[in-house]
């Protein structure tokens, strides 16, 4: 068991009424490289700023080696940060920038000199001591920023998207150097990025975040091979996310076929989400040995591999990665190994809303009034309303719908889209549709009377 250095419990933070961090629980092991990964606005930078002390959470605790950290002002915390935009002091040269923290500690000048030279060597910036920081290139400034932080020998180094401003080639080089540096220094790195590939390359542990919540914590391999939900599967790498049914232990049914798999304990005939990585679908030349067949729709050369879209015999679109190209319109056979099928419990099977009857044939949910079949319930009765995903009508025009919302997240499921719509009150409505929507589209929502399944709420 490795020793925990940082522990975060029930941490929440709200900005202007919007929850940017919602009940975060996390611990960081001493010496590990931990990455907070998520799309922009998921709260990862806020979490880092809370660690550094620049943002104060409303709820929760943050301890470092058993000591409460929340009451400690930033300048007394044993952490240092590498900022996204470097924040090198323009009035100081490279040497004085790096020596800034050491001079504040009033170390003797020969010791400062020795330490600065040592880190300069570490970041390969020897002979740059006297340079003006503004005369340096982006990559060089980045190195100075890293040197300025590590020269203080912090117990934990926080890195806020440090490579985001660099070009691809330089980013790759810096990734390797950062990894080396982490090994050499042996201090804990907490790294924030939205780049999933960077996270997979660098980390010992990845924390995937979305909408202020932790979605999954695991090693890069775990996160890639066994995503816990469709968000993680979609965010990390390319994937085919499909609706399926767990027929029984080790047998799953999707895209119209039964497949052997390694998952069990889901129960029998339970609806599930199935994740197949594009590189895990193998093309077999002998059609009789294939598990299923399909017709190639398109084939694009991607450098290392070809990316193909294939329509399966049952009309599902699948993405494949292969080293050999197949011409469009060609019939191919395909196979998936049992261990490459990742089965996930569905987070929800239908939309469930809390509602209130406004008449025996009208119900109010999420602030909108919907006509419904005669229920016999009196006005004022609290009810639960269930609506299937494919029974939600999405309208182009916000005014046409009873409810309005914004398209928040879109997931392609092989033969349809699973769309998450966020209402202005930050409630979520999930819909299955064949229409193509874009993230951020403003839409109206209608539900037909007969599609509202209403039951009395439990008292």
């Amino acid at each position: 068991m490795s020793e925990r250095i940082i522990e975060i419990k029930n941490l929440s933070k709200t900005f202007d009424g919007i929850k940017v961090l919602d009940d975060i629980n996390l611990y960081v092991n001493k010496g590990e490289f931990l990455t907070l990964l998520g799309p922009s606005g998921c709260g990862k930078t806020t979490l880092l700023r809370i660690l550094a002390g620049f943002t104060i959470p409303e709820e929760g605790t943050l301890t470092m080696e058993g000591n409460d950290l929340l009451d400690t002002p930033p300048h007394l915390r044993p952490l240092n940060t590498v900022f996204q935009r470097y924040a090198l002091f323009p009035h100081l040269n490279v040497f004085d920038n790096i020596a800034f923290g050491l001079k504040l500690k009033k170390l003797p000048s020969d010791e400062i000199e020795m330490k600065v030279r040592k880190v300069l060597k570490m970041v390969s910036m020897t002979d740059y001591e006297d340079r003006d920081v503004e005369s340096l290139s982006g990559g060089q400034q980045q190195r100075v920023a890293i040197a300025r932080a590590i020269v203080n020998q912090p117990k934990v180094l926080l890195l806020d998207e440090p490579l985001a401003a660099l070009d691809l080639k330089m980013r790759k080089d810096m990734q390797i150097e950062l990894k080396e540096m982490h090994k050499k220094l042996g201090i804990t790195f907490i790294y924030v990025t939205h780049d999933q590939e960077e996270a997979l390359t660098l980390s010992d542990t990845i924390v995937v975040m979305s909408a202020g919540q932790i979605q999954q914590i695991g090693t890069p391999k775990d996160i890639y091979n066994e995503p816990v939900n469709s968000f993680v599967a979609d965010f990390i790498g390319e994937s085919n996310i499909l609706n399926g049914t767990m027929v029984k232990d080790k047998l799953v049914h999707f895209i119209g076929h039964d497949f052997e798999c390694v998952d069990k304990d889901f129960g029998e005939n339970v609806p599930v989400d199935v994740v197949i990585r594009p590189e895990d679908i193998t093309v077999v030349n002998d059609l009789s040995k294939a598990q299923f067949t399909g017709k190639v729709k398109s084939c694009i050369f991607k450098g290392v591999h070809y990316e193909m879209f294939v329509d399966s015999d049952t009309g599902n679109e699948l993405m494949l990665q292969n080293y050999t190209p197949y011409a469009p319109e060609q019939e191919i056979g395909m196979k998936i190994k049992p261990s490459d099928i990742q089965v996930m419990k569905k987070e929800r099977l239908c939309n469930t809303f809390d509602g209130e009857m406004t008449a025996s044939d009208e119900v109010e949910i999420l602030g909108g009034r919907f006509a419904c079949p005669e229920t016999g319930f009196e006005a004022g009765t609290q009810v639960k309303v269930c609506v299937e995903f494919d029974k939600i009508d999405i309208m182009d025009n916000q005014d046409e719908g009873i409810l309005e919302g914004e398209v928040h997240f879109i997931l392609y499921k092989g033969d349809h889209y699973h769309v998450t719509i966020q209402t202005p009150e930050r409630d979520f409505i999930y819909a299955d549709t064949n229409d193509i929507w874009d993230k951020g589209d403003l839409v109206g929502i209608n539900i037909k009377a007969e599609d509202l399944i209403i039951t009395k709420a439990d008292d």
Binding site: P73, H75, T81, F89, G101, L104
Partner: protein
């Protein structure tokens, strides 16, 4: 069609500069180095200045008062600019406007109003009133350039300094002040140089009892002693030029310049 060279466009400006800047400067120099009685080249005007006790003393006194005024303006102006530029302490741009507003009113009118006010509340006019008048008139010129620099200053430098272990006081002395040097030098130039040459404030607020160097020059020119007056003006120009040279050496970073100069 006649092609007009790009350089041709500069002719009006060049002419303006020649007539209103170049020529007067040359004339000042010519007058300063000319003996009024003989019309010959001579250093007599300068020797007169350094031997004329009164004028030389006025000159030293003016520099003293200009230094005091600059110091007070800086001491009052920096905190004011700091508060104005801090979005936590000042959420509205109207407060900034209120500080700058006096600059919209003519200096003479403001000074006359000050005289009337001092009269009304029975504060004697004199050196104290003079210092007050100088500070009152020049404070906005100190606040504005510093405010501009602080407002534009990237807050991430403060965050970075705190992160590296600087206490709030150290953040201020080691990051904020060095980064606002361009604004401070701008402010000092805007206050120090005009103070030496001001004369209206001194005349009005001391009932003509205390003279500043500007007054001396004005009196000589008014009384038709052009050659001596020109020599005095030239001395002042040299002093101003020297202060600019000294302060300029620190402000070679253009992007952080104070905004007024």
């Amino acid at each position: 069609m006649i092609k007009i060279k790009r350089a041709t466009w500069s002719i009006p400006y060049a002419a303006y500069l020649f007539v209103f800047v170049g020529l007067p400067l040359v004339m000042i120099a010519v007058y300063a180095f000319t003996d009024k009685s003989t019309g010959q080249f001579s250093l007599i005007n300068f020797t007169k200045f350094f031997s004329a006790q009164e004028d030389f003393h006025t000159f030293i006194y003016s520099i003293e008062k200009a230094l005091v005024n600059t110091a007070i303006c800086l001491a009052l102006g920096y905190p004011a600019a700091w508060i104005l530029s801090n979005s936590k302490l000042n959420r509205s741009s109207i407060t900034v406007m209120l500080f700058i507003l006096p600059m919209w009113i003519n200096m003479l009118i403001r000074t006359m109003a000050t005289v009337a006010l001092f009269d009304f509340i029975h504060i004697p006019l004199g050196e104290g009133a003079l210092i007050f008048g100088l500070v009152y008139n020049f404070l906005p010129f100190m606040i504005y350039p510093i405010y501009n620099v602080l407002k534009k200053m990237d807050r991430s430098y403060i965050t970075a300094a705190e992160d590296l272990g600087a206490t709030p006081f150290q953040v201020f002395t080691k990051v904020c002040i060095p980064l606002s040097i361009p604004g401070i030098t701008s402010g000092i130039m805007m206050v120090f140089m005009p103070t030496i040459s001001t004369f209206a404030i001194a005349e009005l607020l001391t009932l003509n009892k205390i003279k500043l160097f500007g007054t001396t020059i004005q009196e000589n020119i008014n009384n038709g002693i052009w050659n001596y007056g020109a020599a005095l003006a030239l001395i002042m120009l040299v002093i101003i030029g020297l202060t600019m040279l000294i302060t300029d050496s620190d402000t070679n970073r253009e992007e952080e310049a104070g905004g007024l100069i």
